[in-house]
């Protein structure tokens, strides 16, 4: 079928540019209830390039809110299945699926090419992480959220306004307290934590999905200045649009100093450290990691441990609180675990391989991001 006749009705809308939509490249993180609706809208509108990220598999209870999934899809990866369905919806568009944790599967060297990232995840940790990436990379972010009645769509125009307020600027302190309940020792997951399940329906999912797609496709146009939140009530139809102010002590904005310069570098190994070794550069500095790492642990009772001579550099997220129980002397909670999100340059020199996708430093020029 010829693409031109497919989009004929769109071309009759005087403020709608099909060409521009076809050029747009977006990332949709999370192909759950909201993700399905966002993807459906983007595909039907003819958005040219859609990348879908999700680690999760389709379960039977997803089917009431997932227009793209069928009963026969149960067990399939959500991103891969959604991508297949979108190609059915419109063969003219380019769709790619990235199964797995987006933190691992995102190509950070190409991250800056997205016109918008649409966040359709179901937890604060992933939102905070995406917000951090988008703020740092200067990529527009649309955040979505739903419950059984309301939908929220936050627009952060970081590409045009790098100083725009971010998701964490208005995040209440109670969210951090809630998140800390799930973790002990600053980053290790608690062993038995039961996630609260929030019931939702396709009503709020489709409300959030259509508004998010609309916002994402409008970001290229000069529009409202600053970050903005739409909060909609699916029962009364009432909605409020509000400006999102910046917070001076925002944990994200305070550590990112414009301009941000992103460079791809090689992860260091000893051989590659030599070049500037003869310089009289001070080695007292440190780099900031985008996630905490375990540098060492040691049992306070029996002394058994690792990382005292050579730092371990394990992602804290890969471990849970059972690490605090000593395997050698069976001492419960006896192990002292050192977790860091900053590393001195001397440690960086010893690290053959870093478990994080990038590190950051600050200079008098601004913020430098080194992507591996």
């Amino acid at each position: 079928m010829e693409a031109q006749s497919r989009y004929l009705r769109h071309t009759l809308i005087d403020w709608f540019s099909q060409d521009e939509v076809a050029r747009t490249k977006v990332a949709v993180i999370g192909a759950g209830a909201v993700g399905n609706e966002v993807l459906k809208c983007l595909a039907l509108l003819g958005a040219g390039h859609i990348d879908i990220y999700d680690f999760d598999r389709i379960e039977v209870h997803n089917l009431t809110r997932s227009v793209l999934f069928r009963e026969t899809d149960i067990g399939k990866n959500k991103a891969a299945c959604a991508a297949e369905r979108l190609k059915d919806l419109d063969p003219n568009i380019n769709v790619r699926a990235f199964p797995g944790d987006f933190w691992r599967t995102l190509d950070l060297t190409a991250f800056g090419s997205y016109a918008a990232v649409i966040c359709c995840v179901d937890n604060f940790e992933a939102r905070i992480r995406l917000n951090f990436l988008c703020k740092l990379w200067g990529v527009n972010l649309i955040n979505t959220g739903i419950d059984s009645r309301h939908a929220v769509i936050d627009t952060f125009p970081f590409a045009r306004e790098p100083d725009a307020s971010c998701y964490e600027c208005t995040l209440p302190a109670s969210v951090y307290q809630r998140m800390s309940q799930r973790y002990s020792c600053g980053g290790l997951k608690k062993m038995a934590f039961i996630e609260k399940r929030i019931p939702t329906t396709v009503i709020t999912a489709s409300l959030a999905g259509s508004l998010a797609a609309s916002q994402a496709l409008r970001l290229g146009a000069p529009a409202h200045k600053g970050s903005r939140r739409i909060f909609a009530d699916s029962i009364t139809g009432a909605s409020t649009a509000s400006d999102l102010p910046s917070r001076e002590d925002c944990p994200v904005c305070a550590q990112i100093k414009a301009p941000v310069q992103i460079s791809r570098v090689r992860a260091s190994s000893r051989a590659e450290l030599a070049p500037l070794a003869r310089s009289n550069a001070p080695e007292a500095g440190e780099v900031t990691l985008p996630e905490p790492v375990i540098v060492s642990y040691q049992c306070k009772a029996c002394g058994q441990g690792e990382g005292q001579d050579k730092p371990l550099l394990w992602r804290a997220a890969d471990h849970d609180a059972s690490l605090a129980n000593c395997k050698a002397c069976a001492g419960e909670g006896a192990v002292d675990i050192q977790i860091r999100d900053k590393l001195p340059l001397t440690v960086l020199a010893e690290a053959a391989r870093l478990p994080v996708p990038f590190v950051m430093t600050a200079s008098d020029w601004g913020t430098h991001v080194f992507v591996f």
Partner: protein, 83 residues
């Protein structure tokens, strides 16, 4: 010590109250008062929006005249986490 009188309501507009508060209070204090007085679910987080001015309030924001004027309507909105 100056007080400011304003309207506070929930996002679904089922709860509404007139509140008088010292301007040295923070946005988070209003949210806490709403959660306590209306027994809102404590497993949810809330943010605050001045719907009269169309501006959200950061949690640590003091209720000074630039942000909350007498008679303004403030809405307590749940922070939505499902997706």
């Amino acid at each position: 010590m100056t007080d400011v009188k304003f309207i506070i309501r929930t996002a679904d507009q089922t709860r509404k109250a007139e509140v008088e508060m010292d301007r040295t209070n923070q946005g988070a204090d209003i949210v806490q008062a709403a959660v306590d007085n209306w027994a809102l679910p404590t497993d949810t987080d809330y943010s605050l929006v001045n719907v009269t001015t169309g501006k959200a309030l950061v949690p640590s924001q003091l209720l000074d005249e630039n942000y909350v004027r007498p008679g303004d309507i403030l809405e307590v909105q749940p922070v939505l986490v499902a997706g």
